[in-house]
């Protein structure tokens, strides 16, 4: 009896221990890149600033590696991608890129990094082992959003000036198709099943949905009219999708709102008022909170995803660009 109880307890303990790394791997820290502050601001779970990590100039897009030990930051004015050690919160490395890296994405095996260089209109593929640029794909002017498909075979990149999404065959580095979308296409989000690629078009105030099976535009574009704003005030940029694929969060830029969109019906479930020029948006791993970088009010807004209300705004630094959460 006692023995079996003990076994059961130790079994539970063991299970708890085993699951611990997956549950609490992250520190809960929130990383915010500030374009004009030249730093990545680190906040703890309680939203206290714990560190300001000085980076190369104009830090913008950020991504973790798969095990979240390293955070990569594209620094546009120094033509590098800085690497931050998440444990020590120090810049430990710097990867040279082409001129003005803005947004980047990793191949699924993390062996290749795809970077949009907005000044020379290229999508550059960098081999992570050798740090050598292995492909240089010409794009329309001002390439921005980059997304690599989960099978690693296709990369998508937007051109803000050409109003296009380029479909790039990663094996050959060749653009296999150009998809004309709305005006000034910015970012992507992929549905968790990989079937739909959403593209934010900043100046025509709409979201286009691309069917990844055919690379054709699927259905009508989505437009937004939050309370107190007009359609043309809406300049969508950042997006985030829930793990079940049911909801997409869209930042509405100058319309100072986040739209929570039903991914199936495309109805707006709620508009959430945040800071000025809401840009990047990221969800916590448990999806209880969303964090929004507000470029013109120099703060981030925390949203409670249960009630879909903004619960707090925290000043971070000059021109917040992206938010990443280590959880």
């Amino acid at each position: 009896m006692i023995n079996s109880l003990l076994t059961a307890t130790s079994g539970l303990l063991l299970a708890a221990l085993l699951s611990a790394p997956a549950e609490a791997a992250g520190t809960g820290m929130i990383f915010v890149s500030t374009e004009k502050g030249n730093e990545v601001v680190v906040l703890d779970r309680d939203l206290n600033v714990v560190k300001r990590i000085e980076t190369s100039r104009r830090p913008r897009d950020m991504h973790f590696n798969a095990d979240k030990t390293l955070l990569y930051v594209a620094c546009g004015d120094d033509d590098t991608i800085d690497v931050i050690d998440v444990a020590t919160l120090e810049v430990v490395d710097s990867i040279p890129t082409g001129p003005s890296p803005e947004v980047f994405a990793f191949s699924p095996d993390e062996k290749t990094m795809y970077v949009s260089n907005e000044e020379d209109s290229r999508l550059e593929a960098i081999d992570m082992a050798t740090r050598v640029s292995v492909q240089d794909v010409p794009t329309g002017a001002e390439p921005e959003g980059v997304l690599v498909m989960p099978d690693g075979k296709i990369a998508y990149v937007t051109s803000e000036v050409a109003d296009m999404v380029h479909v790039v065959d990663t094996a050959t580095g060749v653009v296999t198709k150009n998809i004309l979308v709305g005006t000034r296409p910015r970012r992507f989000v992929l549905s968790p099943d990989g079937s739909e690629l959403w593209v934010s078009c900043e100046l025509s105030s709409e979201i286009f949905i691309i069917d990844t099976a055919t690379n054709e535009i699927k259905g009508d574009s989505l437009i937004f009219v939050p309370p107190g704003f007009r359609e043309e005030d809406v300049t969508p940029v950042g997006m985030a999708v829930t793990k079940d694929g049911s909801k997409v969060l869209v930042s509405l830029g100058r319309a100072n709102n986040i739209a929570v969109v039903d991914a199936k019906t495309h109805e707006v479930i709620k508009y959430i008022l945040v800071g000025r020029r809401a840009w990047s948006v990221d969800l916590s791993a448990d999806e209880s909170k969303a964090y929004v970088a507000n470029g013109l009010s120099d703060d981030i807004t925390v949203i409670d995803m249960k009630t879909m209300d903004p619960i707090k705004s925290v000043a971070v630094g000059r021109v917040p660009h992206s938010v990443m959460i280590d959880d």
Partner: protein
């Protein structure tokens, strides 16, 4: 909640040219300038010091087509500029007529205001659309010609930018200084009309002279001409720039100067660093002779060319009439790298746009200012709005 809009479903197919036969064409777009255009003479001051080296803005138009080459290529259209510098108004008229004869549908005009008016009147019945890029006169907007569009800002848009700024700062008393050139009076009249509409007080309007004759000292001495009254700010209209050059820090009262010197309103400034503006400035520098900065006129010819190329690529038709209608219509959206979606006003065919107020090396404020609201489009707080316009939307 969410409204839906028709997507370019069929258009993508058309672009890729699989099911639908691809529309393939060589498109020539006219560009008519003036051989000896005073506006682009380098401003040379005493002892031949070059104080401004305004250059012809044709490179802006070249960049516009260059920027959209990938789009027009994908649509199987090759767009090229047909550049010509006319000796005078008559030659400009003949050239535009010849361009229409040769099948060109759009011509960018880089001409002084009086010649734009003559060309537009003379070619009004031809199947050709003129885009006036560099003449700011409001009188051209009041011609209400269906074939004349305007890609640069009007005098009234520039003036409303100053007036909104003065209201925003609560600097409501203005001393106006105006030169003797007809162009100085045009600019000053536009400013005065705009300022008065926003209840900004003009404490005085004085004419200056550059002569140093002691008999004219009330007009040529910067301290005397700015003395005697109190004001918050000095506005100066000086198209030649020589008097304005010496006005900063030389006023009787320690007051800022706006207009032809100090803080200047225009379509573009190289120091604007938001909305992708820096990339446009850098691309222009790479393309332009001598790597110069992009001027407001360069921006205007750039946006004119970009608008035309966009219309060809996105109109979903190879019918020139439909391309023209698309360019003028409400579905048209163009990005001028100033953060707003822009299109042409249906009444006077003026491009709606945000403006910048800049010193020599920094943009101090963009306009429109947030406190100026409008019932349909905030950009229409700058310039002659539909109810005031002599033209009717069509």
């Amino acid at each position: 909640m969410t409204k839906l809009r028709l997507a370019f479903l069929t258009f993508t197919a058309l672009l890729m040219g699989s099911a639908v036969p691809a529309f393939s064409a060589d498109v020539l777009v006219g560009y008519v300038g003036l051989k000896d255009d005073l506006r682009y003479h380098p401003e040379v001051a005493y002892t031949r010091i070059e104080i401004s080296s305004a250059l012809r803005p044709v490179e802006g138009a070249r960049l516009g087509f260059d920027d959209l080459k990938i789009v027009t290529d994908a649509a199987n259209i090759s767009v090229r500029l047909d550049e010509y510098d006319a000796a005078d108004a008559n030659e400009a008229i003949q050239k535009v007529a010849a361009m229409a004869q040769a099948g060109e549908r759009f011509v960018i005009l880089d001409l002084p205001g009086e010649i734009v008016a003559q060309v537009a009147e003379a070619t009004r019945d031809l199947p050709i659309t003129l885009i006036n890029a560099t003449a700011p006169q409001d009188a051209l907007r009041d011609l209400c010609l269906p074939n004349l569009m305007h890609a640069g800002a009007s005098d009234r848009m520039i003036s409303d930018t100053y007036s909104q700024f003065l209201r925003h700062r609560n600097w409501t008393k203005v001393l106006m200084l105006v030169g003797k050139e007809p162009r100085d009076k045009e600019m000053a009249d536009a400013f005065q009309a705009s300022a008065e509409r926003l209840r900004i007080e003009i404490v005085d309007r004085k004419e200056f002279t550059t002569s140093t004759d002691p008999a004219n000292r009330e007009e040529n001495n910067t301290k005397l001409i700015t003395g005697g009254k109190d004001y918050d700010v000095v506005y100066i209209a000086d198209s030649l720039g020589e008097y304005a050059r010496y006005l900063n820090y030389a006023t009787q009262l320690p007051r800022p100067v706006i207009g032809s010197t100090g803080l200047t309103a225009s379509e573009w400034h190289w120091a604007w660093d938001r909305d992708g503006a820096t990339q446009v400035t850098l691309r222009f520098q790479r393309l332009a002779q001598g790597g110069r900065f992009m001027s407001p006129q360069d921006w205007s010819t750039w946006i004119a060319a970009k608008s035309i190329a966009t219309a060809y690529a996105k109109a979903r038709s190879d019918d020139p009439e439909k391309i023209d209608a698309y360019l003028k219509g409400s579905r048209f959206v163009i990005d001028g790298s100033k953060g707003y979606r822009m299109n042409f006003r249906p009444w006077d065919r003026q491009l709606r746009m945000p403006m910048v107020l800049a010193t020599s090396n920094a943009v101090i404020e963009p306009a429109p200012f947030p406190e100026f609201l409008h019932q349909s489009n905030e950009l229409d707080t700058l310039g002659v709005d539909e109810p005031e316009s002599k033209c009717k939307a069509s």
